[in-house]
């Protein structure tokens, strides 16, 4: 039972990463590698703020803000620097590694015994309460995003990826909306980093290893699975995808699979799901 709770806690935080990746990869059609840096950015900003005595909730907001800035930098490089999207992400991600080291002053900060949104006493501190708190946070983020992408600005950001001519034709600036989208995406990922640092009680400069893969797999997993289920929005699908991702890893560990095979398992799962999705599509076309 407690393992299920842990899986859900971690899975839902990954859900926030997946939401961020969903915005860049799916909505903006922009494979953004910045997230590998902004996840740790969020964790390091939150960690250094908390040990300097900043309220943990404020620390989360600071992390979110720094993530927004990171996304803006990638966006500016792409839109005004005319650098290809993949390269922009790589540049910002690489730079963020140094930035994170400078922010933290050392590669690893322990938060053991520090105030923490999960242990503030206000919400209680057992595992179930922590899970409920994370679920509420994820739900709020999802609802805000769903609302935002139905506003006029949100609609235009959605059009950037699928139909940029439309944006230009009604007098919008594709570049500006791209930057806003990337900014939101990285803000979310940094926010997830700040939650993760508090959940695991430490921030480490190497903690983003695999985050972009995790985000992409979650989004593709979620969207492929929920295809045909029209009432599931892309945001929900991404969160569900992240939880499934974590559940698969948890199950594999439970079944005693050597950890060296975990990535292979994920790759196999992804290929299987993509192929099933494709076969289904071909069937309906016939």
């Amino acid at each position: 039972m407690s393992f299920t709770v842990s899986i859900l806690q971690q899975g839902l935080i990954y859900g926030i990463i997946a939401l961020g990746v969903y915005i860049s990869y799916k909505i903006l059609d922009f494979p953004d590698l910045t997230v590998d840096g902004s996840f740790t950015l969020g964790a390091s900003v939150a960690a250094i703020s908390i040990i300097s005595g900043v309220d943990p909730w404020v620390a989360c907001v600071l992390a979110l803000t720094c993530g927004l800035l990171a996304g803006i930098i990638t966006g500016l490089l792409h839109v005004y620097g005319k650098i290809t999207n993949l390269l922009c992400g790589i540049i910002t991600m690489t730079a963020l590694y140094s930035v994170n080291l400078v922010i933290m002053e050392r590669p690893n900060i322990s938060l053991a015994g520090q105030p923490n949104i999960f242990r503030s006493g206000f919400f209680g501190s057992d595992a179930i309460t922590r899970l409920i708190l994370i679920a509420i946070i994820v739900l709020i983020i999802k609802l805000i995003l769903d609302w935002f992408f139905r506003t006029k600005k949100g609609m235009l950001i959605r059009a950037v990826g699928s139909n940029p001519q439309l944006v230009t034709s009604i007098g919008g600036n594709v570049g500006t909306y791209k930057i806003i989208g990337l900014s939101i995406s990285n803000g979310l990922v940094a926010f997830a980093g700040s939650l993760m640092a508090q959940l695991q009680n430490f921030a480490d400069v190497g903690m983003s290893s695999g985050v972009i893969i995790l985000g992409l797999i979650s989004v593709i997993l979620g969207i492929t699975i929920s295809k045909g289920l029209k009432f599931i929005s892309g945001s929900t699908a991404s969160i569900v995808g992240a939880v499934i991702y974590q559940a698969v890893i948890g199950t594999a560990l439970y079944l005693g699979m050597p950890t060296a095979f975990l990535r292979l398992t994920m790759a196999t799962l992804l290929v299987t799901i993509l192929l099933i999705g494709r076969i289904k599509r071909e069937d309906t076309l016939k």
């Binding site: 299920t4 053991a112 290893s209």
Partner: protein, 318 residues
Amino acid sequence: MKKALVILVVMAIVSAVFLVGCENSKGTENLRIGIIQFAPHPSLDNCRDGFVNTMKAHGFTEDTVTYDIQNANADMNLANTIAQKMVADACDLIVGIATPAAQAAFNAAIDTDIPIIFIAVSNPVAAGLSGHSNVTGVSDVLQVDEQIDLIKALLPEAKTVGVLFNNGEVNSVNQVEMLGESAAKSGFGFETATVANVSDVMLALESLLTKIDVLVNVLDNTVVSAMPSIADRCAEAGIAIIGSEEEQVRNGALASSGFDYTDVGSQGADLAKRILDGERNINFELVKETQVTINEAVVQALGINVPEELAAVAEFVK
């Protein structure tokens, strides 16, 4: 409404899978010891083997103990998941090898009274692992003073000490700080160059070579991985290397004052035995056994004179 329903159903299925999994893994009378190794790495492998072998020598054989040995492959998120699984399995003891694995184990067990043993954590205080009743371990803090003493004995002409390290590894940063203090105390100049991964090592080394008389290694995973090429380049430049463990001396370092990681693991096993016998509130320990090792071939190549009192205690390798 429908959406919420679907989410609930998915969550229910996921939970059901795990509950079934939980039942299967229970039901044995054996003690259960979980070991999380942070990454595949020769030194960490030695810690693990030293731990398990000494545990068996203490009578905790596989007949009475189930060892759950997992490698996180340097993925911190995975280290967390592994630690959570071990806590859910109600392990009687969890061992974390290297700082992030130890922190993951500590954090996963924070609401329980499962004892945690850390191995190969160079600064347990900074890692938040000291001062908890159920946490103890072995700190592999490098004997930097002994390294500096080796330089004084073997290279009396040396004035400036250089060190290469990955500033993303918390263990290395701690050791370099200590090494710098120790070098300053003995009147040496101190130069550093940092790398982020193995491919940076050679360039960083070039930037150091002209400024230093001797290169000192700390226990840095990145730099140690590139040891064979570092040794080649330093031999060309006529710069001696003082290593941080015996293996580096075999790979071309002049000498080291260090320890065998098998002994570190085995010291952890001694702590584990005390804990399983019911003892608590044990302070963490520093590595006990250190040994000076000298490479004869390098001594000859650099024309170094080994003082007799050092030669008497040192172990020579070729």
